[in-house]
Symmetry: D2
Subunit: 404 residues, 4 copies
């Protein structure tokens, strides 16, 4: 029998920015018996799922579902639309943007990686005017795609995708727009069609509240056209056979049935609550957490309030404090997992996730654990963040409470 926790009592607080805590309803749905993926019930389930998932991406177009974790969907987006040696304009918002750019290079593309200098890129969203400027220079239209991250999980900074679209449009450049919203979808407002995105990449283990193992590509017609000419070799990720089989609710190869049960339950939960209520809920949580960080006198990694992430908050440690030591103390003593600093930010910050199966008191527990752990680690705090958060949550009622 698995023994996953050395703490003798109580539930673990999983407050990393994904995988997020999975609601019991979803875990229960996933434990239904596996069925024949070529039988009639499966087809009916598939058709219903493919219809509902489009609502979450806010698209009328197709959404491809992969039986693979999110990194695979990055690869799928690049491989379906591009040819060896193609130039790709990628924007550095943080660790995940950096990894995606490395992937592009490994796949034989020519990524150009732009962004603000020094640490600034990791503390602000995409600067659309930099993309516009670069595209204007590209008079030969060698750049085939612009790739940006909507919610940078390593920093807690979002980006204004509509602005990127306007920037591209302003230049008349034909590059595809590809957006990673792996950690943004279903927590932060996102609009595939309205924002004119060509390929949206997402995954299951964040706002959809599922375990990892499913990932997505939402497609524009332009992206589908591009996929017909693109020459990177593709088979498992190829959209064409999947779109063909999806017409009847099936997949060309074995889908991961039990995670699809979970996806169905997740979509039911989200669409019943209403996406706007879901987004408001995350905005409110994020605001409460930021009140705490400010009260502590610590810096928030994101320096532009317009693009604070509703999904996670990056908390910067004062000079000389190793964030990982603090995190480990908190984990061992209080059974609370926080996100580590990644890449350039290693040891300098920790990340508080406020997504998944969560509520005000879950966050109060989380902030209490942080406050105790910081104090025990000798980090000087200006005032009690826990009190500040209590004040915020007391004064700002959630939607369901005001309805009641």
């Amino acid at each position: 029998m698995l023994n996953l926790d050395f703490h003798p009592s109580g539930r673990h607080f999983l407050q990393i920015p994904g995988p997020s805590p999975v609601p019991d309803r979803i875990l229960r749905a996933m434990s239904l018996p596996t069925i024949d993926h070529r039988g009639p019930e499966f087809g009916a389930l598939g058709r219903e799922l493919l219809d509902k998932v489009r609502q979450v991406f806010k698209t009328q177009g197709p959404v491809v579902i992969y039986p693979a974790s999110g990194t695979g969907a990055w690869e799928a987006a690049l491989i379906n639309t591009l040819s060896p040696g193609d130039s790709v304009l990628m924007y550095e918002t943080g660790h995940f943007a950096t990894l995606w750019q490395k992937m592009a290079r490994r796949l034989g593309l020519e990524p150009e990686f732009i962004g603000l200098p020094g640490d600034e890129g990791w503390r602000h969203g995409v600067q659309a005017e930099m993309i516009e400027a670069r595209l204007r220079e590209d008079s030969e239209q060698r750049i085939k795609a612009v790739c940006v991250v909507h919610n940078e999980t390593s920093t807690g900074v979002t980006s204004d995708i509509a602005a990127v679209r306007r920037a591209i449009d302003a230049t008349g450049h034909p590059a595809l727009l590809m957006v990673d919203t792996i950690s943004g979808l279903a927590s932060a407002d996102y609009r595939h069609d309205e924002w004119g995105v060509d390929v949206t990449i997402s995954g299951s283990q964040k706002g959809l509240m599922l375990p990892p193992g499913i990932s997505f590509n939402a497609l524009s017609d332009k992206a589908i056209d591009a996929s017909r000419k693109a020459e990177l070799p593709k088979s498992f990720w190829a959209w064409d056979e999947i779109l063909e089989a999806n017409r009847n609710g099936y997949w060309p190869y074995t889908p991961n049935t039990n995670l699809l049960y979970g996806l169905d339950e997740s979509l039911n939960m989200l669409l019943t609550e209403g996406l706007d209520n879901v987004f408001a809920r995350h905005q409110r949580w994020a605001a409460g957490v930021r009140e705490a960080v400010k009260a502590w006198g610590l810096e928030i990694q994101c320096q532009d309030p317009a693009v604070y992430s509703p999904v996670l908050t990056g908390v910067v440690m004062p000079e000389g404090v190793d964030a990982d030591t603090v995190r480990q103390l908190i984990y061992r003593r209080f059974d609370l997992s926080l996100g580590m600093g990644l890449g350039k930010a290693k040891g300098r910050m920790f990340r508080i996730g406020h997504l998944g199966d969560c509520n005000d008191l879950t966050l109060m527990a989380t902030l209490s654990g942080c406050e105790m752990g910081l104090t025990m680690s000798g980090v000087p705090l200006a005032s009690s963040g826990v009190e500040a958060a209590m004040r915020y949550f007391s004064e700002h009622a959630p939607a369901h409470a005001s309805d009641a």
Copy 2:
């Protein structure tokens, strides 16, 4: 499909003093397929269970397990040992002691209900000298049993059972000693044999962390002897046939198999951690919660620090505040259930459970919810109880953390 919660996201905080939050391990064990209760696997399970459960009661004698909730085990204790019209000396510690006394009357016994005057009885433990005095008066030995509650769930006050035993022994009176530790077992120190208890009554839904539905009678030889002569009519509750069938690990009628799976898992968890560690864990939690209540400037229902309950804490509202209104606000706004005031204490207090599947951060969430709800209800608080509890939990490491 059941919809048990109007809150759209997150886990409910069930911080009533039982039923306590059930660990996932136990819920999973309970979902194993039901087996034949007359087959060989069942017999093996039964024998193992009956052996392990004795360790939790700290007895070498038999423990009878009923497929019925805790109130049934009260009835079983009285019905097996007493005859119509028998006098029983019962001590008023709170609402549950009062209910047990009413039951005795309904069953045709003659309970004599003693205790401290006014509200005092509900704020202190059993006064052993009052029992001693009463037994000394009973020169005809008409009193057949002394009945006390070990952990009074309605008040958060425990009683010194060893002192009651000494009081009885000092008089040489032959009355049986019957103790209800429904909410104390497996959270507070309890010693059936060492304390010379004749019948210990307990239930599944508190320290054993199971759903309700199972209850217990632990028996002394003297109690078994008494049951042979007792004349209250009995069949379902009768010990004799159960003890006979238990020899081979079976029951004379259908046991509740799936709850027994849960009991097996619970006993494994408790005995692996070690009962002393379990008790220390509850004492530490209780101390942290009391720090918060004191910081708020509110009164704790229990007025004798020597008998503070490690299982729950009763928080008395200031004059003019309706505790149930506060509780309901906290429930609706923060998805946190607190125990209501019962009987004489209705509307005057709420009760915080600190038992079951719980940890420091669960309690911090709970105390945050209380503090926000009290403030929002206009209850003046002297200082932040949340801060006081954080200080306590920071300064007092749990056993597992110091081992680590």
Copy 3:
């Protein structure tokens, strides 16, 4: 971790006449987190449950739900309505009727136990004319209740309850009619109001497809009146306080919450399918199983085709064959549990349950296991029962298939 089965692979076939196989839907419902039994969601659940459960008993009157297994509901029926020394007319249909009669005696009643002579009583249903004759003799109306078993689990024989009602009415005798349909409810047609039953006793672990742990008393007005005057001591089982608390969907003491979740799911399943479809399903299964037994050339315990049980079939072994040896071989070799012969029938028969989460192929597996086990035990079989059952199931479509 529990290890409940020495067989290395595959699902156990639990074909005893209860506890019956529990559908996964119900096990999943039972694993929802335990909630506060005094909170608002619980009250709503309770009211809905109490309403739906009446539909299954076919009564407009109240149904009392006990957090105790079925034997407790026998005791409750007697204790609520009768006084010490009361005469009760009980009819011997088999082992469970015998146990109920023993219980009546233990509780201080005066049961009179009538029935057909020798083994005949265990092979036929209640002979209503014998009850009529006995009541006519009772000119002083000393008999306070007539107690019969609707579906005798030890034999696979049902009884005609409407006929018993007519027999009582024909005499004008005021005795209460109390009926045990622990194993009949929700599998065999049952009508509390139409048949004029005063107290119907049932349990959770048979047709309701739940684990054991819940039991029922359905009440007529006459029974409730009787309970006001009855003098057997009662408290846990007392209807009055339960009926009072039930008005708001609560119970006077802790109910077994998680089994109530399962009950809710069970009632949803049964009422959605429709009780008539449920009964037809069991009748069809029973007919298929009987075809097999007849083809084997073995005797069915029930000798009156008008009262064959739709719930189970008793298979009588030829002289000289020990049924338990056959059962054990089948269990060890084929992972199939069959019901043992009980009481007078010990070693002479085994019982095949055809209830709970079951379908045609489950029964084909069961009959194959029986046929292999009988052959391996050297029992001479006239022909293949498996083939006979296949013929029956092929020729008789289930309701859902004809709809499709």
Copy 4:
């Protein structure tokens, strides 16, 4: 709430050759809360898993685990080891070998597809001498890999991998040997090291009894060397970063945590039972099923008894019978899923899976469903296959029964 089945009662019989029925133990393990995939418990789990999984492949070398379904592992094997335009010798054993060959072509390789003429290739295993002959012709060593399927899921035919190894060795040709045992692993004997396989491909949803979503590459040193020079673009599937991260029990990107819990439970079950016992169990089941098919007078798809699959049996319909019509009748009437004929065999056969959570009686239910469905479809049967299978299972005790 998902409604996956129009049948009102009982468990579905999922007897397709994968996804196979998942044991409850595994479904329960998968429902544990998702943990931080960068935390210390995860690393410990990862290291233990990677160690145990090697035992199932019978290799000392590394096994790469992908968070993707089996088709992905085919792609991974090709992409890691080969360069654009490379020749690959692939052998046609059935539908899955054909699909793998199509994939190779899509990925820009030059597959050469050999096999027996006409339908013969789908009814026999790999003819090692054909491979040997072809390699001898390849004096320029243009062929970089030989790809064969160990257990062809579309036909129920296995192949002698050791013979293929000997054939390659006899020629001294340096081509890699890549083997798909997606449906063979953990059901049929398989030996990565002893048979000198360079890349073994497998998946979770067959003998490992998990839902789909995990797949595997077991690697030889030679394969790892090849991967350093291979030029097909790769990132998600790239072994190098995975092997590097695996040293500490982690993955370079998010693994599918909950399926890994299930894998851990699966490995515990298989290794506790012992792989030889597991293989014997499947051989016995397959033999019993073949007895039934022979008794019916129907043809088995596999024409070489030396390579009958222990995992599934393909049953060929007589001329003029549409296998899919028969399958659908059986599904609707008896709640039993059988595998359809794929590719060339569409409509001409159905496939009975005998793997996953299964036992003798599950197979008797399956064969009963087939026999009834065939008869109802008007297919003339020579004799009762059900009786033949009962005879076989009666006369051949499983390993655990003889131990008992």
